[in-house]
């Protein structure tokens, strides 16, 4: 088989997992109308809190809960700012990224005395999280398109006024799914920590943004987004073997270029939720 060995397909699955989790989270919040570019920071915060809790308690399970909790809290912060205070979604998300990057470098120095890295800490088998990810994605595909809750979620992102009229609380729905997005980013961060066994500040390294890319390429649907994430993970795994033939920088560019092509509509129109990024203002009675 040469370059294309079974090993390659397996490592692609691992590399795809954090991307797919972020893509799933972003699918939820954007379906509800909230853009979240803070996914990068939320995943980093998840990885860091996972490392801290695992290091001090020795319990990977507690660490996992901490990662999800921190991710969800940052999701809540972003939701309060963008949904209730009507701050611009992109700005608020970018602020989350800056804040977390600063905190990560600061806290690693404070706790371990090393800038941006942690010593190794107890981990769980990362394959468990791969399985959890695939399960959540399959479940979400059904949830979003085959259940009344999923319908409500989509209406809030497409036509908040109609949702409001039908008695759906637009603000609370957006808050809930943005928190869920944060929690899934935290889970992605937890995977990254458990995969490596320690924290480094570059461990997310654009995978949050590639997650958004996978969501766009998957056209806001969980299963196609998983396939896109797998494609990106595959390219990532392949570039290490192809370095002799193609400079790695060019394979690393692929997800980004593909996203631009998809957004440009050259591969069929992306179906962006109509109220995406727009604040909803309840009518005054």
């Amino acid at each position: 088989m040469g370059i294309l060995s079974l090993n390659l397909f397996i490592s692609a699955l691992r590399l795809a997992t954090p991307i797919a989790l972020v893509a799933l989270g972003e699918t939820y919040s954007e379906r509800a109308g909230v853009i979240n570019v803070g996914v990068e920071g939320m995943a980093l915060a998840g990885a860091l809190s996972c490392a801290i809790v695992a290091y001090f308690t020795g319990s990977p399970a507690l660490a996992l809960i901490a990662a999800i909790g921190i991710g969800a809290s940052l999701g809540a912060l972003h939701a309060v700012w963008s949904v209730y205070l009507r701050a611009d979604h992109v700005v608020s998300g970018a602020a989350v990224n800056l804040l977390v990057t600063g905190f990560a470098l600061f806290l690693t120095r404070v706790i371990w005395g090393w800038r941006g890295t942690s010593p190794s800490a107890p981990t769980m088998n990362a394959w468990i999280l791969v399985g959890v990810g695939v399960f959540l994605i399959a479940l979400s595909q059904v949830y979003i398109f085959r259940t009344p809750w999923g319908l409500r979620l989509r209406v809030v992102g497409e036509h908040p006024r109609a949702a409001d009229t039908a008695g759906i609380n637009v603000y609370r729905t957006r808050l809930f799914y943005t928190v869920l997005n944060g929690a899934l980013c935290g889970l992605a961060g937890a995977f990254l920590f458990n995969n490596l066994g320690r924290f480094t500040d570059g461990m997310v390294g654009g995978r949050g943004f590639i997650g958004i890319a996978a969501m766009v390429v998957g056209n806001y649907r969980p299963l196609p987004a998983l396939l896109a994430a797998y494609l990106f993970g595959f390219v990532d795994a392949l570039q290490m073997r192809l370095q002799e033939y193609i400079p790695s920088q060019f394979s690393l560019m692929l997800p980004y270029i593909l996203t631009v092509i998809v957004l440009a509509g050259f591969l069929g129109r992306a179906q962006v939720p109509k109220a995406l990024g727009k604040p909803y203002i309840k009518e005054q009675g």
């Binding site: 700005v91 800056l98 470098l105 806290l107 800038r115 980004y256 509509g265 203002i281």
Partner: protein, 348 residues
């Protein structure tokens, strides 16, 4: 005065952010007075420290201008980082490949930087205007493409790998370099060019029909369209100018600070520009102050680190907090108005 009204909430946000920064400092066991003393000394303590602040402020000024000119047209340029890298590389290329007399050489290098950035702004601008592609995603994605591209250009095996020990180009010719002000400090004419450009951007936005059109498109594209303004052209122009400004910032880094292109030279100046543009309330002259503030935080943070009183990254924590609070007060006012029921059903 209108601008004092603008200034108070921003000053409040900065004070609030510094306050929380102080709490974080205290909670993590560092001395608050020592940290803040070093922060101020490191940023403004003497001529050398002031030069450090302004050196850091230079690229941030350009990326802030880049963000705000797009913002004025209702667009988000999240990709200033990549435009900065392209500008830095292509001005370096002009700096070591061309043979020109001193001042002309510098100007040509700046133009190379501006054009490289402008091209990288044109692509998302065109995609937005003609294909409806979200510019905040495309600028962000193209930013990574640019960073990887420049990284390949100077990597071992790449065409411009100039030195054995590091991924960087060879030095640019002396004729292309910006003169520096103080021996031993990297501060160069880049800051002067930056301030000049800030005034030009101000003039363009507020004193020319072109700027009026850009702002009209940003305020209300539908109304602008009815008023006979070509919205698509203005959207493209806004991102071309945004790209050019970030590209110029990269050129200033090459010509003044590093005198060559270095892989990964930017610690996130492109992202700082978002903060700078917002702190300046998208005003080009305000961007000068915002850039100095952010430069001071970076330079001060390094001094805090050197003095051993706390890690430098405390400054980035404070910076992130500033942005959160800067976008909040306006919205609090907004909500108050909303509660009084003065606001209609409009979507801004």
């Amino acid at each position: 005065m209108r601008w004092t009204k603008e200034l108070i909430p921003i000053a409040g946000a900065i004070v609030l952010a510094l306050g929380i920064g102080a709490i974080v400092t205290a909670l993590t066991g560092y001395s608050v007075p020592a940290v803040f003393k070093q922060l101020v000394i490191g940023a403004f303590g003497d001529w050398y420290q002031l030069a450090q602040t302004l050196t850091q402020a230079t690229p941030i000024l350009f990326t802030s201008l880049s963000f705000l000119i797009a913002f004025r047209a209702g667009l988000f340029n999240i990709g200033a980082e990549g435009q900065l890298y392209l500008g830095a590389f292509f001005s370096a290329w002009a700096g070591f490949s061309l043979r020109l007399p001193p001042v002309l050489h510098t100007v040509v290098c700046l133009l190379f930087g501006a054009v490289a950035g402008a091209i990288w702004g044109f692509i998302p601008g065109w995609l937005r205007a003609k294909r409806g592609a979200n510019e905040f995603v495309t600028t962000m994605m193209l930013s990574y493409v640019a960073i990887y591209l420049t990284s390949w250009l100077v990597a071992p095996g790449g065409p411009y790998h100039g030195t054995q020990w590091a991924n960087q180009t060879v030095r640019i010719a002396t004729s292309a370099q910006f003169p520096r002000f103080i021996r031993g400090a990297q501060l160069s004419w880049g800051i002067v060019v930056g301030v000049l450009i800030a005034f030009i951007v101000w003039y363009l936005l507020f004193r020319t029909p072109r700027g009026y059109e850009l702002r009209a498109v940003g305020q209300n594209p539908l109304a602008a369209e009815y008023g006979g303004i070509n919205v698509a052209r203005n959207l493209i122009l806004a991102l071309v100018l945004a790209g050019a400004l970030a590209g110029l910032g990269g050129a200033a880094e090459t010509l003044g600070t590093h005198r060559r292109f270095i892989e990964n030279f930017s610690p996130g100046y492109g992202w700082d520009g978002i903060a700078g543009g917002l702190i300046a309330r998208a005003h080009p002259l305000g961007a000068i102050l915002a850039a100095v503030l952010m430069g001071a935080l970076r330079a001060g943070g390094q001094a805090v680190d050197r003095a051993g009183v706390a890690p430098a990254d405390l400054a980035s924590v404070i910076q992130g907090l500033v942005i959160f609070f800067v976008v909040a007060p306006e919205l609090i006012r907004y909500l108050r108005r909303l509660r009084r029921g003065k606001l209609g059903d409009t979507e801004p």
